[in-house]
């Protein structure tokens, strides 16, 4: 299918021919909405591209895109590409200082945003700011000037989430993104009747690929329902006859609580029920009782919703066991910006527990002697923009060194077990991963918990449990007692020696991924200052 596409914006051009009158992108609210049909989208992209050229922007120049997910975002993104420019999508709420450093790193010439941001910021970064309304209202005659772009040209620079390191700009070509799209469509297709609800920022490549490019390549519609508050999203599922959505574990949990609350006065599970308890309850239901519960859930999430794809971080296998019997399939997967981004995918009910599915067709995966996951294929990045040395290191030997640890089982299922850079080496010389320790330290007294390595005296790591108390009245003694009990019941190699109490929530990326290294560095610095 996408073999027909040479450039990313061909998806829109082809959509205008194949599905002209079908809705392509929509913004909906309880009061109504607006959007573009495929033929309209193509035409508005064409005039917006002409408007960008009229700003004096030349092919190959970088244009930052800082908008929330919306039909406007989609127009701006494809217009940037159609004008032969390189898109640099960033989160809509990126603070001015971060925006400036991203602009400096990518050498961006322009910024497309809702309206002019602070004048100082724009001047400082030397950016030409273009309000999205100006692009949408453009009446430029289509340029028709071929931009001389080929699939090998760079299409976008994607900032990595920075959960473990300083953000880097991953350079992806039209061809690498289209290779990933092609691989994805070979195993998962949606149809023109399907509707995807966008919950995540499209600057996130997982959302861009599976939540925008894939549905548009199939004639489906993409729905933006505004700020992703759980209640708005749940309303949109039924109202907009949504069939698919992509989410991240943190948001999935919020949605789960929202649904539970909606059912709390009926016969459904009680509010804030523990996940394991809900799973046990569902699995013990008789067929007629399960039908009744399913009907009740459908009242809330609509009749059409059937696939939830979870990315960004590991999903609790219990969540899949909870949703599958309710008729909602959970897709799990693994990916990273450097791989355009999807590496593996699988329906949780068809994968061994904890697996992230099988590699996509055409995406080779191997595990090296340190257990690091390596990826090879047409989907792999060209390098890091402005940092050829780091890029060459990541691509040494023709394989992308992901920095993630994992294993492949005999049936080809991939498991991700941790981050290479987060491996802890204890004073006893033992190698441990925070992820293998953390499950032993869950307690109702802890709102959040994680394990981080603090620096020991002999250059070793001291695995340390960091907790955020569930209630601020909890005394240190109560927390310490809970910790001691958990440690005693953990296997010997998983016994953490020290405990740190945090008042603030754990530091996370915009999508809820734990910033473990940042936390470890902060705590180590504090410890040093106290010593």
């Amino acid at each position: 299918m996408s073999a027909a596409f040479e450039l990313l914006d061909d998806i829109v051009r082809s959509g205008a021919q194949r599905f002209p009158d079908r809705p392509a992108v929509l913004r909906t609210t309880s009061a109504g909405g607006y959007g573009f049909r495929y033929v309209e989208l193509d035409s508005v992209v064409e005039s917006a591209a002409a408007a960008l050229r009229a700003e004096g922007l030349r092919p190959g120049e970088r244009v930052m895109l800082s908008l929330a997910g919306s039909p406007e975002w989609v127009v701006a993104f494809f217009a940037i590409l159609r004008a032969g420019l390189i898109a640099v999508p960033i989160l809509a709420d990126t603070p001015g200082t971060a925006l400036d450093s991203m602009a400096a790193l990518t050498g961006a010439r322009a910024l497309v945003a809702r309206k002019r941001t602070t004048p100082q910021s724009a001047t400082r970064a030397g950016l030409c700011e273009i309000a999205i309304d100006r692009l949408l209202g453009a009446t430029h005659a289509p340029g028709n000037a071929p931009v001389g772009c080929s699939g090998a040209a760079t299409a976008l620079l994607a900032f990595t989430s920075g959960s473990t390191a300083r953000p880097r700009a991953v350079e992806l070509t039209h061809a690498s993104l289209l290779a990933n799209l092609d691989a994805l469509l070979r195993v998962r297709r949606v149809g023109p009747e399907d509707a995807l609800l966008s919950m995540l920022p499209p600057a996130h490549l997982f959302e861009l690929m599976a939540g925008l490019l894939a549905p548009l390549a199939c004639g489906a519609r993409v729905v933006y329902a505004g700020p992703p508050l759980p209640n708005r999203l749940i309303d949109a599922l039924g109202r907009d006859r949504i069939t698919h959505a992509l989410t991240v574990p943190a948001l999935l949990h919020a949605l789960y609580e929202e649904v539970l609350e909606g059912m709390a006065d009926g016969s459904g599970p009680r509010q804030r029920a523990d996940l394991a308890q809900s799973v046990r309850r569902i699995e013990s239901l008789r067929a007629d009782e399960l039908d009744e519960l399913r009907a009740e859930v459908r009242e809330l999430v609509g009749q059409t919703f059937r696939v939830l794809c979870v990315g960004g971080a590991a999903v609790d296998p219990l969540m899949a066991r909870l949703l599958t019997p309710l008729g909602i399939g959970v897709e799990v997967g693994y990916g990273l910006s450097e791989a355009s981004p999807i590496v593996s995918l699988g329906l949780a009910s068809e994968c061994p527990p904890g697996s992230v599915g099988r590699p996509l067709p055409g995406v080779e995966v191997r595990i090296d002697e340190r257990a690091e996951i390596h990826v090879r294929g047409a989907n792999v990045m060209r390098g890091y923009w402005g940092d050829p040395a780091t890029g060459a290191e990541a691509l040494a030997g023709g394989w992308l060194h992901t920095g993630d640890l994992g294993r492949l089982d005999d049936d080809g299922f991939l498991f991700v077990t941790g981050r290479l850079k987060e491996v802890m080496v204890t004073a006893a010389g033992e190698t441990l991963h925070p992820e293998e320790l953390e499950p032993y330290y869950a307690s109702p007294l802890f709102a959040e918990h994680c394990v981080v390595p603090l620096k020991g005296n002999q250059g070793n790591d001291v695995p340390t449990l960091v907790i955020v108390p569930a209630r601020k009245e909890l005394t240190s003694q109560e927390l310490q007692d809970a910790f001691v009990r958990l440690r005693a019941s953990a296997p010997a190699r998983c016994r953490v020696t020290s405990l740190v109490r945090l008042a603030a929530p754990l530091p996370r990326t915009a999508l809820g991924k734990l910033r473990r290294r940042v936390l470890a560095e902060e705590l180590s610095a504090e410890k040093e200052a106290q010593a």
């Binding site: 700020p227 919020a254 601020k472 996370r508 915009a510 809820g512």
Partner: protein, 84 residues
């Protein structure tokens, strides 16, 4: 409910959710900056405020609800509107 009462409840909820002391927080201080909330946490907080006060803020207003004062005003004006 009077403005002071709404403000007291907003502060209590904020303190509970952020697990920090917000009594000294200025009425117009930026919550996201002050409490170091990320976008997801900010939205979860707004969702909790909506639930506690049984209101629904207009979508276009959400981005502006970044201080105790703005929240109090938002809640009071949303309470005048029927809940969507």
């Amino acid at each position: 409910m009077k403005g002071e009462e709404v403000e007291r409840l907003v502060r209590a909820l904020l303190g509970e959710l952020s697990r920090s002391d917000v009594s000294a927080l200025g009425r117009d201080e930026d919550l996201v900056e002050h409490l170091g909330l990320d976008s997801l946490q900010g939205l979860s907080f707004l969702a909790a405020v909506e639930k506690r006060f049984q209101v629904r803020f207009p979508d276009e207003l959400l981005a502006a609800l970044r201080s105790v004062g703005a929240l109090v005003e938002g809640i009071q004006s949303a309470r005048k509107e029927p809940v969507a």
